[in-house]
Amino acid sequence: MLEIQELHAGYGGGEVLRGLSLGVAHGEIVALLGRNGMGKTTLLRCIMGLLPHAAGSIRLEGQPLSGLDCFEIARRGVAYVPQGREIFGQLTVEENLRLAALRGGTIETGYDLFPGLRARAKDPGGSLSGGQQQQLAIARAMVAKPRLLLLDEPSEGIQPSVVNEIADIVTRSVRSMGLSVLLVEQNTDLALRVADRAVFVDHGVDAASIASRAVTREILASYMEL
């Protein structure tokens, strides 16, 4: 459902993505793995339209996304949970969710996913704990009823026990809804546990695509260690 071909992109003078190609099938969870600075976050920003790409193509269900504004890409069913969560700290939990529900969808989806949020509905998003903020960011993405979910470092800065709980809930929900997911995650154990397939990114290109079960320590070591 998502096809990326020969993508080139970067910031200012430096090129970060140097001809990356990637596909995500319907209902597939793909983990993007690789060392820091290899272009994983850049790729998500390109898909979302936050960063223009210099060459190559991004297609969603066969439709090109190139040149579309970020909001149009969002309206076509791409939801983004950015690194650092970027919830609206001054807005209440409910307002955060309502923003995503303005074009179809209901905030109940978010509360059903993480019932703990309901008790904090009237609190400002900024007053939540790190784990709850991450729940809110994911709930906000799911409320919009996306077809493709982009998750950037969802476990960053959250206690391990909470991470696993969130991961289980999200995986179950994504599976039941048949969502496609592109996941960037430093915690490779977690990433490989939830993903169907791992794509290793190295110096801005896709170096390998391997089913999660087939990823061995040696493979991990060759792409992840310095």
Partner: protein, 287 residues
């Protein structure tokens, strides 16, 4: 006692209108990071709008409704043709809107001549207020200004549009990621801010001398109001305008209007210099 009451009423009048002006400036700055130097001219356009519509034979009440809308349309055109091309360049928004103010001002000179015009005040008579006779129209000005301020708050805090605007103010990129059309909001915001200035000009038109250069006298106090109280919230311009307006009225009652204005400006500059919350807010946005 009676003089004090009249003074309080007159001051409230001036303060409420200044609030309207500052609110428009703050809305535009908050959402778009644009310093609108043409805001005073938008106000003057509102007054000229009433003048023109009155010449065309429309009743005053209709003028009050239509003139701000026309100003909002002009704001919309200005945003599309000029202002959106200078986003991300804060100082250039000052220059671009400054240029716009020059053009609008001279445009008014060309069309209406350099002199001042008087808008016929609607004959509403006077009523006793706590035992003092006070012109009804001035009470109407206060009511309309207060209503417009309340409406602005309602839109911002109680509607989906306002929710989206607040999200854009907080984090433009993330708002876009949720499917919010930030361009559309920019357009609407600028038109809305311009419309608020237009409304201020329209309601004040019978009480001021309508001339092309009247805008600056509103722009500077408007800016000082929002800077004094600090940026980043809608209540800032309200509080700031109350302060600036109150000091102005008090000083004017003691000395002359000219010295009052000087007092206010100098006091505001000192406050802006030494109270960092406003400065901090701007620095955050500039970063």
């Amino acid at each position: 006692m009676d003089r004090i009451l009249i003074f309080l009423l007159d001051s409230s009048n001036a303060i409420l209108v200044l609030m309207l002006v500052s609110l428009g400036l703050a809305v535009i700055f908050g959402l778009m990071n644009v310093i609108n130097m043409a805001h005073g001219e938008f106000l003057v356009l509102g007054a000229y709008g009433v003048l023109t519509l009155q010449w065309a034979g429309l009743p005053f009440a209709a003028c009050l409704v239509i003139a701000p809308m026309l100003v909002a349309l002009i704001g919309l055109a200005a945003e599309e043709l000029l202002i959106r091309r200078t986003y991300e360049r804060l100082l250039d928004t000052i220059l671009a809107t400054w240029g716009l103010s020059l053009v609008l001002r001279q445009g008014l000179v060309l069309i209406y001549g350099p002199g001042s015009h008087a808008v016929a005040a609607p004959d509403m008579g006077s009523v006793p207020v706590f035992g003092e006779i006070y012109p009804v129209y001035r009470l109407v000005v206060m009511a309309l200004s207060a209503a417009a301020i309340a409406f602005t708050f309602w839109v911002f805090f109680r509607t989906a549009l306002g929710l989206q605007a607040r999200a854009v103010i907080a984090n433009r990129n993330m708002a876009a990621c949720l499917g919010i059309n930030t361009r559309m909001l920019d357009r609407l915001t600028f038109a809305f801010g311009a419309g608020l200035a237009g409304l201020a000009g329209a309601v004040m038109s019978p009480l001021i001398s309508v001339d092309p250069n009247a805008g600056l006298g509103w722009l500077v106090p408007g800016f000082l109001s929002i800077l004094v109280a600090g940026l980043g919230s809608l209540s800032g311009p309200i509080v700031g305008a109350a302060g600036v307006g109150a000091v102005d009225s008090l000083a004017a009652a003691i000395s002359s209007p000219v010295w009052a204005q000087l007092t206010v400006f100098v006091a505001a500059i000192i406050v802006i210099r030494f109270f960092p919350q406003g400065l901090m807010a701007l620095k955050r946005r500039e970063a």
